[in-house]
Amino acid sequence: MRVSVLQENLAKGLSIVGRAVSTRSTLPVLSNILLSTDEERLKLAATNLEVGVSCWLGAQIEDDGAVTLPARLLTDWVNSVTPDRIDMELSVRSMSVHLKCGRFESNIKGIDASEFPLIPTGDGEEPLNLPPATLRKIIDQVVFAAADAKDTSRPALTGVLARFEGDRLTLAATDGYRLSLRRTALPAAAPADISVIVPARSLQEVSRISGEADPEQPVELAVAAARNQILFRLCGKGEAEKGTFYQVALVSQLIDAKFPDFNAIIPKSYTTRTILDTAALQRALKVASLFARDASDRVIFSITPGETETAGRLTVRATSAEAGDNVSELDAVVEGAAVEIAFNVRYMMEVIAVIDTPEVVLETTRSDRPGVFRPVGAGPEEFTHVIMPMQLQR
């Protein structure tokens, strides 16, 4: 194998596939990144057996070939050298790669590419198309509500439910304390109605990569139900630009578990409806969080209706036994009865961060019943976030 590639492009490619490298594996080759020539491009690939990411870079191929190199060493090396052309040459006999960039020359020992697991790239599945910005947004609006991947006792909750029904896609995630639900229209009907659970970590990667994809080119998405996999294919911004990729394919295992019936826990009614300025609420939460930190992150919302509907008020209180306390007051449009309810401020901040309308509505009933956040102005079915309160008095 003899390949030349721009340092910026290789660095970008390594950062794309790097997250998929296995950090704790008994299989040494999984700590490596596969480099192989593929139709006049350099392909990088990494996998931890849950998710596999392949990335194609524009490169000058002199001789075809393939090898795997230690991810950490290769990445650190590429990020340390000057932004010049990197020439790589594999010595098959010693299974080491000679790298040259500007005035740097190194040899890195590798492992035979034949030991690297085969990562399916999704050819042959019938894909759905979504604009990268849309995909990124809907993922970001739900993925944070999933349970931590380390929570092995509830595998279904470590993933995001993706339900394809005709030309509608529903994403849902919950960690048992909050539920994020996002519905969106697909440009075309899905080949089949299907529900799958995708590991939250995989979708976080898809979101991250979507941010660097060509906004004009759709992301292809395909469910390979028989293989229990979901595939995403994204296009880069073009090879003329430095620090970009040509194409990325991400394949993720699906979680084989039963997702809880979330419709049952979405409140059907409310007794108080409060409309708030999103930015003002975000600021009030940020300040309150400074004091809630050593008080289990608890903040107390006191919602009071005014003389007229628009003269309502929300007070956000946080008290720390050690640090002190904070009270913030916000104007609000309050419809219904006064209510006091406590929430985890971190949960609140996470949901407000993904609401991009200027106003947000909070629907509540009792202090021990879930509250519902929705963006104001978006369609009622677009985004719903259900959040369980904390106990008010103890």
Partner: protein
């Protein structure tokens, strides 16, 4: 700076006194509350009549009975002691919210600034002493001083049924003639080392140059010097600010039966959970303490994703720690603790309604126990346990 007024209350031969309330035939007799000698029991409390013969708590019962053969041995009634202790604490709490229970039969009270209301602290101590005697039939000794250290030493000095007042400014003079071992916080090892230096009394220690103490005892040398001068500024901390809550049991007989140990863990977990709930606290960290027959002791702890006050949750984690740590040898002591305490409301769950139901059940059971005693409602799995398995320890 205004001098503080600290009371240390210590109930006199508390377990024996409670037994006498329930069985007047024991009044005037040498009484030992403790485990039976056949099961290697130890003395938990001894009446003053028995103490005259050299019997003291933590002594093996067999030895105590050799010293005082005519003593009447009574096995303990833990539930009753807790109940009476709670009633004493309730009386104390009438006088100040700054009440720090130190153990089942001891507490500190900070009564600074109550003079206008209750008169000088010495008079207040007499009044509380009389009230505990009249309402509960229990005798208590009081130490009155400007800090916890001196108050604690004072309460012990003229036991039983004494009130010892150390006026402000006389702390060092009060301590000076006392043997070094009386100094609170000085263990047997430190005391031996100090005695080797020729220091017999607290006064000797106070006269020792602080630099020499620092050289010999490092950072704690200064603490010793301050203590010897009767200087102490640690505040009276009401119990809810405790860093951890724990329950442990020393078994009269070492236990290697896994089922019995599990049952004990369950009981301890329930007890810790109940104490947490009583104080409106939840624990984020669960600890296990395990002591084998040879006194080798190990502790393990685990931190939960969310704080809890539920017995089954504490048991589940305590059991996991136990199963991982236990090497199948016979166990002498088992303890469960909850730390990382928070009193903030818990995060409610969207789905599993189970824990909310558990919380309601716990609250109902707690109400029953508060009214009819700790043993009024128990887990069926805990019913078979014979009384001799546990023995608490009354503090000296």
């Amino acid at each position: 700076m205004c001098a503080r007024a600290i009371l240390h209350v210590d109930l006199d031969a508390f377990f024996v006194a409670v037994e006498r309330l329930d069985n007047p035939a024991l009044i005037g007799a040498a009484v030992i509350v403790g485990g039976r000698p056949e099961v290697r029991g130890v003395v938990a409390s001894a009446s003053y009549e028995a103490r005259k013969y050299g019997v003291h708590s933590a002594m093996p019962t067999a030895q105590a009975l050799r010293l005082c053969p005519h003593a009447i041995l009574v096995s303990g009634h833990r539930g009753r002691y807790s109940e009476m202790s709670a009633r004493v604490m309730a009386i104390l709490a009438d006088y100040t919210p700054l009440l720090e229970p130190l153990s089942i039969d001891e507490a500190f009270l900070d009564v600074t600034g109550t003079e206008a209301h209750y008169g000088p602290p010495g008079r207040l101590a007499h009044a509380i002493q009389a009230r505990i005697q009249a309402e509960l039939g229990l005798s208590a000794s009081f130490g009155v001083a400007t800090n916890k250290l001196v108050a604690k030493i004072a309460s012990d000095l003229h036991k039983p049924h004494a009130v010892t007042v150390v006026p402000p400014g006389e702390e060092a003079a009060f301590l000076a003639p006392l043997p070094i071992r009386k100094l609170w916080g000085v263990g047997a090892i430190t005391a031996r080392e100090l005695e080797r230096l020729g220091l017999q009394t607290i006064g000797d220690l106070a006269r020792c140059p602080i630099d020499e103490l620092r050289r010999r005892f490092g950072a704690s040398g200064e603490g010793l010097w301050r203590a010897a001068h009767g200087l102490n500024d640690s505040p009276v901390t009401p119990e809810h600010e405790a860093k951890s809550l724990s329950r442990e049991e020393t078994f009269a007989q070492d236990i290697r039966d896994r089922n019995v140990l599990r049952r004990e863990l369950l009981r301890l977990s329930d007890a810790v959970a109940m104490r947490l709930r009583r104080h409106g606290l939840q624990a984020r960290t669960i600890g296990l303490k395990l002591r084998y027959g040879d006194f080798s002791t190990l502790t393990r702890q685990t931190t939960l994703a969310e704080p809890t006050d539920a017995g089954p949750v504490i048991y589940e984690h305590g059991l996991a720690l136990f199963e991982a740590a236990w090497d199948r040898r016979a166990v002498r002591l088992l303890g469960i603790s909850g730390s990382g305490l928070t009193r903030e409301g818990r995060q409610l769950r969207l789905f599993e309604q189970g824990d909310q139901r558990q919380a309601q059940l716990d609250a109902a059971l707690d109400r029953i126990r508060a009214r009819y005693g700790e043993r009024a409602v128990q887990r069926a799995s805990l019913l078979e346990e014979p009384e001799e398995l546990w023995i608490g320890r009354e503090t000296e």
